[in-house]
Assembly symmetry: none
Homo-oligomer: 216 residues x 4
DNA sequence: TATGAATGAGATTTCATTCAT
DNA sequence: TATGAATGAAATCTCATTCAT
């Protein structure tokens, strides 16, 4: 037996539970697994969490908190101030990538969280789904706000920022998922840059005429 | 109760199971639920499927088959033959959207399949994951091939088609998921067009200089 | 494994559960104990009863049904029709004892039921308490009605029949309980006669004057 | 938290435990409930009692002690000394009621004790049962002794005093229980009088002939 | 072939009790 | 002495799967 202050023990349990959930998935992971991993008795977990799902919920809430915190901070983050004409595509894309990178870092703090968010917590129940939805909403809102700022600065054309942001976040997650499937660690920097470039510049060749009748 | 030739009954069970899985999720749905929905005894299901998971697997395999079939057909689908200079952005985007739409139709045949693929089957176990992975791979491969063809035709610039395709598919799914969360039916046509436009044209304003030193 | 028609199996489980509850008490008896006694798997019990308490409830309801049935039958049972002056105390007491005996037989069908009603089911929870209360009420109502009939016939003096009946039932149960404590089987015939005699004739000596000033 | 001399604290715990047991019942009441009510830590209870049941046992023992004490005192309590012929029924009944009242007061000191004795402690385990049995025996013995004295004085006819006493105590308890079920507070004075009257005078009408052939 | 009664492994959860502080 | 964090035995209950009919 080892005595521990309440908050520390709670954190300890969460840390181990995160790993176990990521490895085995929510259903396959038993409370016994978590407790064994944490080196505590089975009853101890129930002093800190009402039930198994509450543990998962707490993990997700941590992530949601990080997202919310980022939303606060982001509001003060500046946007390139130069006139559009003085900024190159690459510069705009780099700025966008840096922003995306910050978002990704906040959410997918570690590979375990990544796995849980994208795989193990999906389709569980309404409470969990609501949390996942809120996290997604937060993520998308941050990206959307970034796009909005760029649009205001004239760097981004007139488009539905909500849809565009959703598209970016979804794309990122799919790339991350593909990486997880291959059991490769996920390189968030590369991911962010890739996405920023594709979404920024588009995929069409410059040779394609923007409008009927004239060259691009 | 009612006698039915084997393959027909199997299909019947799958149809009902699909609905039940979509409504309740894999874990929450019990074998009893499925059998009741299909109007058969509990033991009967086991005449056609080894176990509960095999039912899900069969559903996913159906989808995978549709994807594979699409890959076959797609190989003969033509690409705009005109020179890039003779094609407008909008035309290219429309063509891309049509292609995406075909892909979406094949996979997300109905809302139930959509729900199962995106939510209820995620994170279950290695077998299921492998299937989901193969479906994703198929989808991405189709989109990628489309991009490749466009690139060959000079309509799309030089880019990592695999990554771009993954990004598109992921984005689409996220949009679909968002719609599912809101319990709205998903409009695949609108989705396809939106994605094609954003990915084709990019989000940057035309005023942003393509390269340092010269106007766009 | 042995297959059995639903109602038969239900009865079988109840029979064994009754014995186990009587022997060990509700809390000390585990579902496993009951199932082992009945020679069935643990899950089987839950096909017939929602939970452990429902088993007890069913046992009590059986008893309540017997009491209710007795109430129906009793309504047609006759009362000695002779004028009070033509009936001896002993005759009235004997009639009363026969009536009590019928009541006791209905409720305390067997020693197990007796034990459960008086000891193992007391103080469990509101549902169970309500049932016990209803059984008690039924018992008392029957005895009360008997007293009422005797009073109408002029054989019993004017008194609060409800209180008197409660007193009789309580007294009987205490005697039965005392017998149970001594692990003696309970002789319901002797009990009934004893109670009828004491309650009928009272305990005071005939030498005590009925009213101040005159001889008894 | 607060330091207290051992016996005082023990009494304090018992007082709160009594209330908690009466309210929730022995099983439903947790050690945590008791400790919270008593305003002490969970471990502290175990400094004074070996385990949860020992707390209940102590409560019952207190009651048993009161019963035993009453038995001592009662031995010197006098019986009406006048000749039977000089005493009216009502006087004898009043004396009997006073005696019963004293007994009831001793045992059912308060509503909590009443509840515990009649409901929450029944059917728990052999130790507790033995105590309940001893309390009952004590109660019955006191009443029995009273009856014996009255019989010696010629006020009560020749009867099995043990059975008669058991009957009275049982009847009283059932009346009390009925009152508890209705959540009415129990009026011990009324109870005692009712029982003394019914048991003293009997329920048969005076018009019923005591013996065949002659008037009562 | 179809059925659904029977099964039991295994999961979650409670709570009286212990013991480090 | 007082505390309350830690414990783990043991209980209930679920449900996918089997198999007698």
């Amino acid at each position: 037996m080892s005595y521990m202050r309440s908050p520390a023990r709670q954190r300890q349990i969460l840390e181990h539970a995160k790993r176990v959930f990521a490895e085995r998935g929510f259903h396959a992971a038993s409370v016994a697994d978590i407790c064994e991993a944490a080196g505590i008795g089975r009853g101890t977990l129930y002093q800190y969490f009402a039930n198994k799902q509450a543990v998962l919920t707490a993990i997700l809430r941590q992530t949601l908190d990080r997202v919310r915190a980022l939303m606060e901070r982001q509001s003060v983050v500046g946007v390139p101030l130069a006139r559009p004409e003085d900024i190159t595509r690459d510069q705009a894309i780099a700025w966008s990538a840096r922003q995306l990178r910050a978002v990704l870092g906040a959410v997918f703090e570690d590979q375990d969280t990544l796995r849980i968010l994208l795989r193990e917590a999906v389709g569980l129940d309404v409470d969990v789904e609501r949390l996942l939805g809120e996290i997604d909403d937060g993520l998308i809102a941050i990206v959307e706000r970034g796009l909005g700022a760029l649009r205001e600065a004239g760097l981004v054309r007139d488009l539905d920022t909500r849809v565009a942001a959703t598209l970016m976040v979804g794309g990122i997650e799919k790339l991350a998922l593909a990486a997880l499937r291959g059991d490769r660690p996920v390189d968030l920097d590369a991911l962010a840059l890739e996405v920023a470039r594709l979404h920024g510049a588009g995929s069409l060749s410059d040779r394609v005429r923007t409008t009927r009748g004239g060259p691009a």
